[in-house]
């Protein structure tokens, strides 16, 4: 018997399954955009709460994942524009975060040299993404954090494909410059 494929609107009927299925990708996108675990947790909850409240408005002309990522992108944009976030963002040190990432990615057997190299690379790529504009970062995270294609990113961020490409080129230029500076 062939399995039936749910339409986006049908998929949304089972909201528990939607949360289970898409929470990781939504959380990752928000975490990579804000670099704060608590903010990412809160905004992920807000994203699914908002989706649940407005599920009747979902027309099904986009994938559920795209719709959820649109909500998440709006929430990230609103928070990063708020004065509270700007203040804490400036006050937050990124050094500890990079060290944590090195610990997560390197094995226990890794030599000190290998850990240092990893730390330099991570510092370069993350500090480069810190320098990106709000739109460039969103595009960068969706493309290189989530492997989304340009059309999907354009749908999520409500941009034209050419605009997405332009932001990506600029983001890649910044990252490349930063990596060259480090190496």
């Amino acid at each position: 018997m062939a399995a039936t494929i749910d339409t986006p609107a049908e998929e949304l009927q089972d909201f528990d399954r939607v949360v289970q299925l898409y929470r990781p990708v939504v959380f990752r996108f928000i975490l990579a955009s804000l670099r704060d675990h608590d903010d990412a947790e809160t905004l992920t909850q807000d994203c699914f709460l908002r989706a649940f409240r407005h599920r009747h408005r979902f027309r099904g002309d986009a994938a559920v994942k795209t719709w959820l990522m649109q909500i998440a992108a709006n929430l990230v944009r609103d928070l990063t524009r708020s004065r509270r976030f700007q203040f804490w963002k400036r006050a937050r040190s990124s050094a500890a975060r990079v060290q944590d990432l090195v610990d997560l990615l390197s094995s226990r057997e890794a030599s000190p040299e290998a850990r240092t190299l990893l730390q330099e690379q991570l510092h370069a790529v993350w500090s480069a993404s810190d320098r990106l504009s709000e739109k460039q970062r969103a595009v960068f995270v969706l493309r290189f954090g989530e492997d989304m294609d340009l059309l999907e990113i354009a749908d999520v961020l409500r941009m034209k494909e050419g605009t997405v490409k332009k932001h990506l080129f600029r983001a890649l230029h910044t990252v490349r410059e930063q990596m060259r500076r480090v190496s």
Binding site: L104, L105, Q121, V125
Partner: protein, 139 residues
Amino acid sequence: MTHLSSEQISAWLLGDGTAEAQRHVESCRQCHDDITELRNGLHLFRQSVHRWAEHSESRNLPAPAPSSPISWTLAAATVVAMTLALLPMYLNVRQAQLEAERAQDALLMDQVHIRITQTVPQSMERLMELMSEGKEDRQ
């Protein structure tokens, strides 16, 4: 030799590289290394995002339940059984306390009754007794 521009490298990484750029990357060590380094950095970014998110999510997993539902049922049944067993003892003790309180109350009421039925104050009771004794003697 003219190396690839930043835009050409970006296009290459996004899968939009031209045949000309392809030939250049194959022959130019510098551009090849440049692209490889950038690609590695982007791969590292993706890997770190995923590992960080997984790590954060694992910290948020709900703590395991302290015991199974069967244990909860057993605990509830034990509490009910102990309550039923101890209830008669409690009621007996309480009954005895109530009876003792009632006896004390009755005694107190008797004392009060005696006091309020006296015709003279307590300090004059002895004098009244002597007076009645004297009256009897004269008769």
